[in-house]
Every structure is written in C-alpha cells, then in structure tokens.
Symmetry: C2
Subunit: 150 residues, 2 copies
DNA sequence: GCTAAATAAATGTATTTACATATATTACAA
DNA sequence: TTGTAATATATGTAAATACATTTATTTAGC
C-alpha cells in the first residue's frame, strides 16, 4: 500500500521532498509500533533497550552518562534517568569514576547481558516483517538516508 | 558524516538491514529536532501541527475524530486531546455531528488557516537543510520506504 | 590559593504518550 | 421492545519526554 493510501491522503504531495519527510516519520512510527509490541512483554522501553545495547557494545569498558548521550539516537531524553531504571532492574552497574568524581562509570552486568540476549532474540521477529527489501536495496536506502542528513 | 560516526559506533552493523532500522530512527529524530526548533516559537507541538494540516487538507469539509486518527502518522496519540488543545487556541471548531450524536465534526477555522500558513512558511526553512538529494533520489527513497513497509 | 567558568550528572516540572477504562449513543437480534 | 454488542469519543493514569535548573566537582585565570 502506498503512503498516500496508508494515511488516506486524497491530494498528492506537493513534492517528493515533502513526501519523504512524511514517509520517514510514518515509517519510523511503523517500526516503533512493531518494536514496542516485542519489548512490552519484557517490561522495558525502547530507550532503555537502546541504552542497554550501547553498553553491551562497549564490551567490558564502562562509559559515562555523557558518552551514552553521544551514542543515543535520541539525544534529548534523559540518559541519567534511563540508567536509573536499568540500575534498579540490576541490568547495569554505576560507580563513581576514579579520577573524576563528577562522572560515573556505567557498565552492563551479566544479568543485563543475558536479559539483552533474550530480548534481542525476540525482537528479531520483526525481521520477518521487514524482509521486503534485498541487501542491495537496504544498502541503497542507507546511503540515501546518510546523504539526506549529510 | 556516516551514521556510524554520528552515533560513535565502533563496531560495524551486523547487516544492512539492522543499519536501516537504526538509520530510520536516527533520521526521524534528526527531522523531529529540526522541525521542533521551528515550531517552538509558535507554541505548538508537531502532533498539533499535523492535525491542523490534516484538517486544512479537508478544505471545508469537517471530519470526525476517528477520521483524524486514520490520517495521523502516529495512530497512538490522543486525537481527542489534540483537538482539545487546538480548540482552546481557536484554531478549530468542534460540533456535534448531525445524524450521529456520538461523533463530532471538526473543522479548521479561519484563524487556524492563517496561523497554519505562517507556521508552514517558517517550517519550510528546514528545506534548506534537506536539499542534499535531487528529485529522483527523493523518489527512490520514497519507493524504498514504501516497499519496506509493504 | 582563591574565584569564576566549565563540566558531569541529578533533579524539578509541565506536557505528552500509551495505554486502559468509562460514558454516551447507535445498531442489531431475539 | 429490550437487552447486547458495537461505535465514537472522553477521561484517568502511570510513565516518558523535553526541557530548565540545581548540585557537585574540576579547571583555569589571576
């Protein structure tokens, strides 16, 4: 189904540029909705899941709150409180950084690691909803998005 | 700058598919941030702006709350309360629908129309941040996104 | 050393989101 | 008709978001 049909738009978009804006927002919501469906049963939000993935990507090296913000997709949300939530669940550790008492070292715990593995296994289910493009097309889509943002 | 650099990701993505997911979310946040910058000075949220655009697209035909939801990019948010906000600002009218007392007719007001014109004029400023693709590339991007969601 | 500026994180808060539930009205079936 | 289901919207709410502000610590200039 075309985007126009999907949002029941009667008149066509003024330009391909304008359609792209709406298309990206709509597709993002489409992904968000699907991801959320999988994450809900693990009682974790998408933001929390993403922070956990960032920490997991650091292997055994701790990173600070500011470094987490740098790596987050959505810079605006509150990394400090997201870490709080993950800490309360036992998925991350948080210690004062040696040499800089303002900063803190955040690290994924073994419990967090195995939790993340489980969640990731489940969330890969959306992959079957997204096998409509082949690898070359995914690559092309990526390079167009990269170019768009420059 | 590549997406990997942008989010300071050290290890490469496992697949182009996985990168696409992150890329769409990141690009959406990038757009959201830019739009928000323009909308803030008009004291209106992106969701409210989008509802106003939907109503404007209906010309002089009123539509119901459910029809607005159908046309919204983000189906989950509360159309009823968004209309409330716009009504309080005098940008829309809301009357009981004749023939169905459950439903209501929502329509953009002249005040809403001229407000929307002003906002749209301003928000088109982001276009200059997004002229990195030519028309054919926007079209290609659109068809890839459409195909992705199928 | 002392003070001002800069930095890192935490906290406050108004608004928005993501639902679940309630209320009102209409449609349908026995 | 008389209850039952369906529909349209409104309301309640816990949590998350989008900031602004505060606190604590470090750095730099004098």
């Amino acid at each position: 189904m075309s985007l126009e049909q999907e949002i029941k738009q009667t008149k066509p978009f003024k330009s391909n540029y304008e359609k792209t804006l709406v298309n990206i927002m709509f597709t993002n919501n489409w992904i968000h909705f699907k991801q959320n469906k999988y994450l809900k049963k693990f009682d974790i939000s998408i933001q929390q899941y993403n922070v956990l993935r960032i920490l997991n990507g650091q292997k055994d090296q701790p990173i600070t709150i500011n470094e987490i913000i740098d790596r987050m997709l959505d810079k605006m949300s509150n990394a400090s409180r997201l870490v709080d939530k993950l800490f309360a669940k036992g998925y991350v550790s948080r210690d004062q950084k040696v040499g800089n008492r303002r900063a803190c070292d955040v690290k994924i715990t073994p419990k967090g690691k195995s939790f993340l593995e489980e969640v990731t296994k489940s969330i890969n289910g959306i992959e079957k909803d997204m096998n409509k493009l082949n690898d070359a097309e995914f690559e092309e889509l990526n390079s167009l998005l990269d170019k768009l943002r420059n």
